[in-house]
């Protein structure tokens, strides 16, 4: 699979993060390993069947913005702010890159 860095509007945050993110196949497989956890609450490929918000079909920049928002406490939540604190900028970039491409 190609590493999708989302549409051109990925923005400065993503652009800055790419620099410290792992590159190539390693980035793809680590992004995948990071993102696999998401599906356990948000449903397979992020397509939630019930009360938890779906996260499929989002571009990378959006996912990065949300995750950073949860992590830094700007975005209120029940559990996501606790979970987002487990990921570095580079990891958020890698997992968002994978999520943006997964079908």
């Amino acid at each position: 699979m190609k590493l999708g860095y989302g549409p051109a509007g990925a923005g400065l945050i993503a652009a800055a993060l790419v620099a410290v993110a792992p590159v190539g196949a390693q980035a793809e497989s680590s992004g995948r390993n990071l993102a696999l956890s998401c599906f356990s609450c948000h449903g397979p490929a992020g397509k939630s069947p019930d009360t938890i918000p779906a996260i499929n079909g989002k571009n990378k920049a959006f996912i990065v913005k949300e995750m950073v928002g949860f992590r830094d406490g700007k975005r209120k939540s029940t559990v996501m702010q606790r979970i987002a604190k487990g990921y570095s900028d580079a990891e958020i970039s890698a997992l968002a890159g994978y999520l943006a491409t997964v079908k």
């Binding site: 390693q26 390993n33 356990s40 609450c41 449903g43 397979p44 939630s48 029940t78 487990g86």
Partner: protein, 424 residues
Amino acid sequence: MSRLTRREFTAAAGASAAAFAAPAVAQGKGGRIVVVGGGFGGASAAKYAKMFGGDSVDVTLIEPNKTFYTCPFSNLVLGGLRDIGSIGHGFDAMKKRGVKVVQDMVTGVDHAKKTVTTAGGASIGWDRLILSPGIDFQWGKIKGYDAAAAEKIPHAWKAGPQTVLLRKQLEAMADGGVVILAPPANPFRCPPGPYERASMIAHYLKTKKPKSKVLIVDSKDKFSKMPLFLEGWKKVYGPMIEFIPQSKDGPVTEVDVGGKTVITEFGAKHKGDVVNLIPPQKAGKVADIAGVTAKSGWAPIDRRTFASTMKKDVYVIGDASIASPMPKSGFSASSQGKVVAAGVVDSLAGKAVADPSFANTCYSLVAPEYGISVAKVYAWQGGKLVGVKGSGGVSPKGAPASFRAEEARYASGWYASIAADIWG
């Protein structure tokens, strides 16, 4: 599955193995992955191995039951919030994905020949074997408690008929009765589970038999999400739930099945009208059969890959594995199953196995509209599997009712999502 079909299947598996397995592995193209156990860990591993490996891998899932009943949400069945059918999951979707599902019991593992044999007489070859055997009970650790006793005093710590049995006993109990719940010492499957169970039973009693009570006779002093449970119990159930720590009476050492009495090390006797004893546990029997269980009763692994440290090309995931700091939860098992599937497919393809990343979120219901959670992110750092500093933790204490209600809503959303992710 009929004997003939199984033979045909074995023949087919053998043929395909002969056709491509050995040379394929040598060329780094793919291979045969056999997964044992269709629960949270195994079903996740089988589904994702097929998704990641596609036609290059031959994936077989062996599970003795036609339907897998989940321990998560089985407490809701006890509380009358759900019926047993709603926590049962079959394997039709798995079959449609191209996973060969064999309904059978594993009776042998030959590591030299790399085959698994079953009670039904099948012999299935593997290049990589992923075991997700769950737990078995250490019968005999509690004097008087064995498999036969469990038909009178259920453990209900493997969901299905045991869940239904305990529910029926609760239904048959007269108002004013005492339900004794005796959780084990650590480690055991689903650390917050017994306390969600106490909550759900109390919910049922409060609604239908309000003079009754739940007495927890614990074999430890502290438990998962303890301050949150205590806060919730006080608020919702008042004195209906009583907790006796092991420092008061000592751990439970004996049970009088006929007298429905649990007896502790310090000689205290607690008699109930319904008794739910959750006995000490160990890795599921399949781990013993495969020779991957250590003296502790659990399966030691390389926590980066979940490869057994005792047998080559064998992986152990879920409750059976020693995966600390990860808890023995369904979420953990599924998280492990997916990442391990990715690693196994990559290694068969001759690619490097990426560092793992796992997560765990455990919701518990204190009441139908009162949910609490604990979460953590796990990473491979400095050659160790660690809980990431600053990540996770429990729901805030003293949160408003709206927060608890939202977590209860997310609890049911989580169940629907993870079930779809694994068996859907």
